[in-house]
């Protein structure tokens, strides 16, 4: 019997997340987040979390409530953010407040470096030489080498305990497809986590998705929960 991947609720899917865990949060510019999983994590209350994500929405969402990642920060559950753009400078949001108060650690990583580090982590690659940081403050402490295409610096792999991804559809084996621009970080993050949890708009039986169209093969997806 294959391992059962379907979870009845987002709360059940995140219930075992320990304090101090590192979580990859897929999404881009406020869209494509696994909102149900993030909300469930708020209820479960795990803390001292490190979140790795591209960027949330900076402002309050329409309902007047905070967006999901900011909610976790606001609730004191996050000790560190790793992101290319963690908050809008001068926005006065909760991330900026906690960073200024010394309650939240922030590590800025250039976007293309972050994604290649995650790819290296997920693909078992020992490190990658990238030209991005050459000559900038992001080069500090890293090995530099001269290649035929120019200078590049060594970037180390990055892995995490969990990844929260949103998918357009998944079959019960975890094979997943995406919709439009919401694919972006999810396939890479799915590879780089020990446990990847997919919040699926649609869950189907094996055979219903075209194998040619699968973007994240089920080997990368450990848990599936229905999006509300």
């Amino acid at each position: 019997m294959p391992q059962e991947k379907l979870y009845a609720t987002p709360q059940a899917a995140v219930a075992d997340i320990q304090n101090g865990s590192t979580i990859l949060v897929a999404g881009f510019a406020g869209y494509g987040f696994a909102e149900g999983l993030l909300a469930a994590l708020l209820e479960v209350g795990s803390n001292d979390l490190t979140l790795i994500y591209r960027a949330g929405p900076y402002a309050e969402v329409e309902s007047g409530s905070l967006p999901a990642v900011e909610n976790l920060v606001s609730n004191g559950q996050v000790s560190k953010l790793i992101s290319p753009m963690p908050y809008e400078p001068g926005s006065g949001g909760v991330i900026e407040q906690q960073w200024q108060a010394g309650q939240l650690d922030i590590e800025i990583v250039p976007q293309g470096v972050l994604v290649e580090r995650l790819r290296a982590g997920g693909a078992g690659i020992g490190g990658v030489f990238l030209p991005t940081a050459v000559g900038t403050r992001f080069e500090t402490g890293k090995e530099r080498r001269n290649f035929s295409d120019g200078e590049a610096v060594l970037e180390l792999p990055l892995k995490a305990d969990y990844a929260f991804i949103r998918v357009a559809a998944a079959d019960t084996l975890g094979n997943a497809i995406y919709q439009g621009s919401s694919r972006n970080w999810a396939p890479i993050m799915a590879m780089a986590a020990r446990v990847t949890i997919a919040e699926a708009d649609r869950i189907v039986e094996p055979g219903e998705l075209d194998p040619e169209a699968i973007i994240s093969p089920g080997i990368f997806v450990n848990r599936i929960v229905a999006a509300r």
Binding site: M85, P110, P131, V134, R183
Partner: protein
Amino acid sequence: MVEGKERLPREVVAMRVAKELPDGGFVNLGLGIPTLVSNFIPEGGVVFYHSESGVLNCGPLAEEEEQDIDLINAGGQFLQRVPGMAFFSTVDGFAMIRGGHVDVTVLGAHQVSATGDLANWMLPERGVGNIGGAMDLAAGAKQVIVAMEHTDRQDGAKIVQECTYPITGKGCVSLIVTDLAVMQPTPDGLVLREVAPGWTMEEVQELTAATLIPAPDLKEYEL
């Protein structure tokens, strides 16, 4: 006397940059004035826009009633679905950038140096900064054009001999287009190619902290 003297509108800066885009090329536009560039592609020309959100061949922005949360650009704005679009993951999106497949990127800047160093991700007095994909674009795009206001709001120079803010990329900028001038950073210094109508080279120099070297064919801003 340059104080209060009229400068070119942002749309004209965008129009001037649009002239630089290769027909049929792949282009990535940053936020601010660069975003406006897409409105001014010469008639009959085609440019394919790349977005870090994971979309190639971005079309126009969507009308309010057809907004789709699964179809956004790098600024989080909603896009129309157009024929020829392709979606991809972030790792592929940055392979396109870093691998030299993107022909031109147009970016804003806090500072640009005479030799083409770019600083556009951090104002130290304002906290941690936002690097986004700018550093990868600066390192990987075949050509980096900066489109910006010539000075900050207090007439402070943004075009400088050496950047004092943390840099995004070293010697990466090939052209600077502002509301006063078109300039070309070179290893030997900053060459002034075009000047806005009604402005002299001396007046532009007053607002520029790098020494301007007049091009042999220095001319008026050409649209």
